[in-house]
Symmetry: C2
Subunit: 205 residues, 2 copies
Amino acid sequence: MRIVTISREFGSGGRELGKRLSEALNCDYYDKEIIATIAERCKVDEEYAEYLLTHSFPSTANITMRNSFHIASTLQMTQIHFLCEQSKVIKEIAKTGRDCVIVGRNADLLLEDYCPFNIFVCADLETKLQRCHDRASKGEVMTDKEMIKKCKQIDKNRKKTRAMISDLPWGDKQTYNLIVNTSGWKIKDLVPLVAQFVDKWFEEE
Amino acid sequence: MRIVTISREFGSGGRELGKRLSEALNCDYYDKEIIATIAERCKVDEEYAEYLLTHSFPSTANITMRNSFHIASTLQMTQIHFLCEQSKVIKEIAKTGRDCVIVGRNADLLLEDYCPFNIFVCADLETKLQRCHDRASKGEVMTDKEMIKKCKQIDKNRKKTRAMISDLPWGDKQTYNLIVNTSGWKIKDLVPLVAQFVDKWFEEE
């Protein structure tokens, strides 16, 4: 079974690379589908599930306001519940035995026992900014400064949620088989190149 | 003109990858040759040139022993002279207009104007250790602990000499087009995969 995981900086094109890679490898693709499953099982809407799974919340030790202890603690407990659910869903995907590409969700760590091929996708700020502007919905008008802030905030959250389950920092070179900097590339041109790495990796096993 | 630069963690197989890549791309290869040229021009032996170019020396501010100021200062001045010479030699290589692979020496930074394809090669500690043991000369018997210390020291020196000429840390993802973790790979199997990245990159220009 071939599992490919994709971790990525926000705006680097990691999701597009993952989607296209799954087509090139002719295998399943998981990204938002995981959130949808969790939301359904936990009987909440997808936005709330996504929010809980991609943010970090202050630990109770930082809360000094009266009565806040209980509220913070509940939020954190809920998040842990959602993270466990996410872990369960991702492991269920692996257990199907079908080849797949999974984007985000720290699947590389959660599926360590399945020896996935782990890819990290990054890009320079200019590339990420351009991609974010191109992808922004029609009504959404953001300045460069706002967009940069958004990119940094999302990656900061990824770092923090990663730190909840791993000692190795998010994006650490040791954790991935391949790190692709998409600056200067068309994502579609990268796909066959990365696919060959994957093919060769699993062929060797 | 296609210039590929290879930066690497000690023991990761970066040099072997570079050498084989130059054969696959049918182009020139530079590594120790650069040191040899500098040594010849500066009329010193290669070991001394190599030592000066790969170590960092305490700044004069750290020197408190009497009379040491002059010695430290001379050493640093000599190093700067050698670094300038190295920069000159590497730029001369680029000016020939011939395709080449250059291993180490911060060539990625020095040749920034030539838009090289920059690769960083890393591996997990176990892989590096194994490679170092395999490569050790017959008389050289080192324990794992000594070998790990050596690996870390060499990479630390690389970090420090990099810091002399760049604000971005050695091994920073933003600096490279591709980061390859050689753990679990035979280097020779990686060569055609990496070569295709290079081919496609320069084809796009």
